[in-house]
Amino acid sequence: MSFKKFILDLRNRKKAAEKGGGDKAQAKQKAMGKLNARERIIAILDDNSFREYDMFVEHVARDFDMEKKKLQGDGVIIGTGTINGAPVCIYAQDFTVAGGSLGLMHSRKICKIMDHALKIRVPIIGINDSGGARIQEGVNSLAGYGEIFYRNTMASGVIPQLSVILGPCAGGAVYSPALTDFVFVVENISKMFITGPSVIKTVLGEDYTMEEIGGAKIHAQVTGNAHFYAQNELECFEQIKKLVTLLPRNNQKGSPHIAPCEPKPSKDIEEIVPSNPKLPYDIRDVIGAVVDSSDFFEVMEHFAPNIVIGFGRMKGETVGIVANQPKVLAGVLDCDSSDKAARFIRYCDSFGIPLLVFEDMPGYLPGIDQEHMGVIRHGAKVLYAFSEASVPKITVIIRKAYGGGYIAMNSRHMRADFVFAWPTAEIAVMGPEGAANIVFRREIEDSVDPEAMRAEKIAEYREKFANPYVAASKGYVDEVIEPTETRDRLIHALQVSRDKQVYWPEKKHGVPPF
């Protein structure tokens, strides 16, 4: 037998495997407006960098005549490759093979590549496109999911884990993305929910579509399960590539350094904040005036927009940014924004990414709605996250910093390393209107013209307390700076905090208000 025959035989087997579920299934995938699994992987990774493993793995199902069925690669493609030269592990479920359903060997493949990623300490990207558990494999499917979820948890905080929802992800399967660090959804293609339309109809008698229950927009705007939202798959892949180039590839290695670049803001930093403290502005203009190339990569843009989180670079080094957004809901803190910020802070802390905080918030959103949704418990998450974070943490108080929110937004008391304030900062326990009513109650009641007295006292309180100098006089603010000095101060602060070390009482771990 000539040597060539072996090679040809191998190539034929690979070609058959690459067809996945066959031409008909591939055509159906195309008709749904979706790329197939291999195309997705090739589009995300650098050219020619994808090496596939376990292409010939076969399923072990023996009930329901399954032994007669050949499922190429058991419905999932795994491998390694690079993104902008940085190594990553990747897997993509293949919807053309038995609807991408998860069986024991399918899960074994995913677990193999996850184990690799955890061992070689590189990011893992999971493309979800699956009908769910393979009913024919029964408990083996559940075992398969369980093994994946455990690994998601063990890898959490060690390597970046990205989940890309490019198809249905229903029932128990959604827990893998939920455990990972960043979830990407695409309009019309992503569907994530625990109970689908048929179950809801049967149990509750209510009629909803998949899109209404768990479409891409719902997760981007309402549930907060998605971190990145794209209009199409290609836009999503660009987001993935951008994120991977910003993040440290594991918790021991720093973020990839690129050449520093001065910001190119559209507005002069002194023109952004209106002199009338009641007028809103977009905090992203301030961020853009401070970060390298004015390039701010926002995370969870559509969820709880009253707080802004994302990544940027300062002198080439990746930083995590948390900022109140005065343009939306006056920049208040509430349940959703607290959740959004807290998890992001924990992510940056796990991976040694310094935190920059831009503060302009008037307090917590009042209302019985918020109270009953547990704003107490959710707000506490931010306090916990900032206190426990041991990365360099630097705050810039732009304008309002009132009450409990002042404390929560990385104040000196949460052990922020440096707290700067602009001259426009208003750091006080309460707004002048509210405070004057309490502190000067006697004077207002006893006066001849209570309204005039109230207005006078409000002005007096504002003059005396709604500024950064009271806090600066007590050392709660390290320096009051001019807006144009902001970038310089932040870069210097990051530079001197490079080898920060904190000492804690020994404990297994704390008990955050989950």
């Binding site: 008698g205 209510e206 809103p280 005065p326 006056a330 008037p362």
Partner: protein, 111 residues
């Protein structure tokens, strides 16, 4: 169709009917209605400062409709998409509650 479970209600699942205890959270829940994109609700309680738009006006996305004073700030409510003002339910100087209907709009017919 089933009736909403009562105090110690019967909960129907795919497998059958369960005699079970209903939690407070379930009792407080209401059937979800998709939000009406033509109803602009107050996202924050406050006082209406100034009504800028007029009934019948055709406006573009981003155009200001009214300002709401809340949380020490003047919040500007803007037009979410191109369209016309159908009705203005807010009154200048009056307090509005969270989720109160402020403005009814209608999208522009795509020509």
């Amino acid at each position: 169709m089933i009736d909403k479970p009562d105090e110690h209600g019967k909960l129907r699942t795919i497998e059958g009917v369960y005699d079970t205890i209903i939690t407070e959270g379930w009792k407080a829940s209401r059937a979800w209605r998709p939000p009406n994109p033509n109803h602009l609700l107050a996202a924050i309680p406050g006082t209406v400062l100034q009504i800028i738009a007029e009934v019948g006006q055709t406006l573009k996305a981003g155009d200001p409709l009214l300002t709401l004073e809340a949380m020490k700030m003047e919040n500007c409510i803007i037009m979410p998409f191109d369209g016309t003002i159908v009705a203005i339910r807010a009154e200048e100087g009056k307090l509005v509650k969270n989720k109160q209907l402020l403005v009814e709009i209608a999208p522009q017919d795509p020509m």
